[in-house]
Symmetry: C2
């Protein structure tokens, strides 16, 4: 069997997760990691792979089947996505929901011209949660879907706190409100404000002599991030943050409640939930499953940008269609 | 918008569920119901639709876009599936897992010859549960998946009890064992015997003067159906059965537990669960979502038998791809 030759662009938490995930997929192998740093400073876990400078990637289009883009959605992917989809089949986890349509168009144009295939906005949300919103809505059109996130660390909210003057470090947990989930599970179909669905809990390390009251007020009143939520702020020591808050757990649930029957007399509930010890590892594994899909679609001559909505589930599995029907159907 | 013109073959619980489900999908309309009974005896809920004898179906291939096959997997579908896939685009919920490969081949041959498209083995298991087994296994290959059914009425087990001499009527509930689910949720990856996963609870109406001990023993010792499980038998009155056990609730959960990290140090849990007031209604709605897919696939020239594994999620939704990316991704 020819293995799918994977490249990794960006070697942060997600890139390292992809490197480890490749070891779980016996039809894949890592060719190299591409970075803006000096490649000599990068220590890979995989023995047979090498670190390269990002500018060398374009010389390696013949020996990489799929490039996994592990940069951030804010400043890396908007340029890297379209650029690399013109050179490689790609998979990314672009997660700025509001900008997906324009990102899709840019990557699609570039991939179509180069006869490449690019899966965008993969991962768990967008990604597996999106899939479950779609399936549930299609099955129970007379109903309503809800997404709850957490309990888990939100990187974006943690970063926002760190930008406040006087903050040395911080972690923010997004916590779904049980009472809200219970109301959905009872079939109530409620409308929620952000405050009714999620709570935000912050663990903050302040710099020496910083004004804690001011920091707490700045956090709680920050628009978009915190002002619409009940927010709890704890000031803790650097040691405590490292000891108790160094991991990146996350999770969440998509709940869809719907009705059937001539008089809407029957309630139905669909729930998809995940509970993750390590958010980047899980996201990485989703990207790898879609790397398999991208590889196969490209071989079939199906080009352009795709999302999880456009890809038949069988493309993600290492098993043949015949084996899938026999063992998993 | 041209509506998708639906035909229903078989007017039992599932067929009636499909008829009601069509009302929830504004891109669909019911043309007719086909039955082996005298059509005059069939009272439809839908005003503009008619009941026809099954033998008239073959004259109506021009005015039906998708025929939903609502017969049983034991004696109806093995012949109706291949036969109708040679005349119409079809969707069915064939659920005899062991016979899916041969059923697939028969339907596929017939559909390919007629340039029709046929989704087989749709519903929730096989169907949505199968999908979730596949997605989870592809994402967490170093892991293990578990399916628990219930609490809900198993039609097959209820029928098996009714065939025992001296039994007037019966309902059987399949009940998942909480302790087993909890072990999976803890990340233990246990191997279970059937007895460790599910309990079987039976409500039996005996005929006057029947030997209750013999009936109970016959149930508990019945191979495949009951002998591998802890089984509870209650004898109740006909009135009690009708009052408390006339509905068809069901449900279940697919749980996949997997590990990541260089030393398998991170646990991840994916759960997909459903809780249904009316099993046939929910199954009907899944068949209708796949009817939309079948209609579109056929228009694109994609013929033959398909399963839920072969169909990209976007085909199930009434929304356009652009709208899906904008609103659900």
């Amino acid at each position: 069997m020819n293995k799918i030759r994977i490249g990794i662009l960006g070697y942060g938490n997600l890139g390292r997760g992809v490197e480890q995930g490749i070891l779980q997929n016996k039809d894949m192998e890592l060719v190299g990691v591409f970075t803006r740093r000096n490649p000599i400073d990068i220590q890979l876990t995989t023995k047979d792979a090498k670190a390269y400078h990002i500018k060398d990637a374009k010389e390696m289009t013949d020996i990489i089947d799929v490039m996994i883009l592990c940069g951030g959605s804010k400043s890396d992917l908007p340029t890297q996505g379209p650029e690399f989809a013109g050179l490689f089949n790609t998979v990314d986890g672009f997660d700025t929901h509001a900008n997906i349509p324009q990102y899709y168009d840019a990557v699609n144009d570039s991939a179509l011209k180069a006869k490449k295939t690019a899966v965008i906005a993969s991962g768990w949300d967008p990604g597996m949660f999106s899939l479950n919103r779609l399936y549930a809505e299609a099955i129970l059109p007379k109903g309503k879907g809800y997404t709850f996130w957490g309990k888990g660390v939100s990187q974006g909210h943690s970063d926002a706190i760190r930008r406040i003057e006087g903050v040395a470090d911080a972690k923010q947990y997004t916590i779904p409100i049980e009472e809200a989930m219970d109301r959905v599970r009872k079939g109530e179909l409620p409308d929620f404000t952000p405050r009714q669905k999620h709570l935000r809990e912050c663990f903050v390390v302040a710099e020496d002599g910083a004004d804690l009251n001011r920091i707490e007020n700045e956090i709680k009143s920050m628009p978009n991030y915190f002002s619409d939520y009940d927010t709890i702020v704890h000031f803790i020591s650097k040691e405590e943050l490292e000891k108790n808050h160094s991991k990146m757990p996350h999770g969440g649930v998509v709940i869809h409640s719907g009705k059937t029957g001539l008089n809407d007399e029957n309630n139905h509930l669909i729930e998809y939930s995940i509970k993750l010890d390590a958010n980047p590892d899980f996201t990485a594994n989703v990207l790898l499953a879609y790397a398999r899909a991208v590889y196969r679609l490209n071989k079939e001559g199906i080009y352009g940008a795709k999302t999880v909505f456009d890809i038949a589930p069988a493309y993600l599995s290492i098993k043949s269609n015949e084996e899938l029907r026999r063992t998993l159907l």
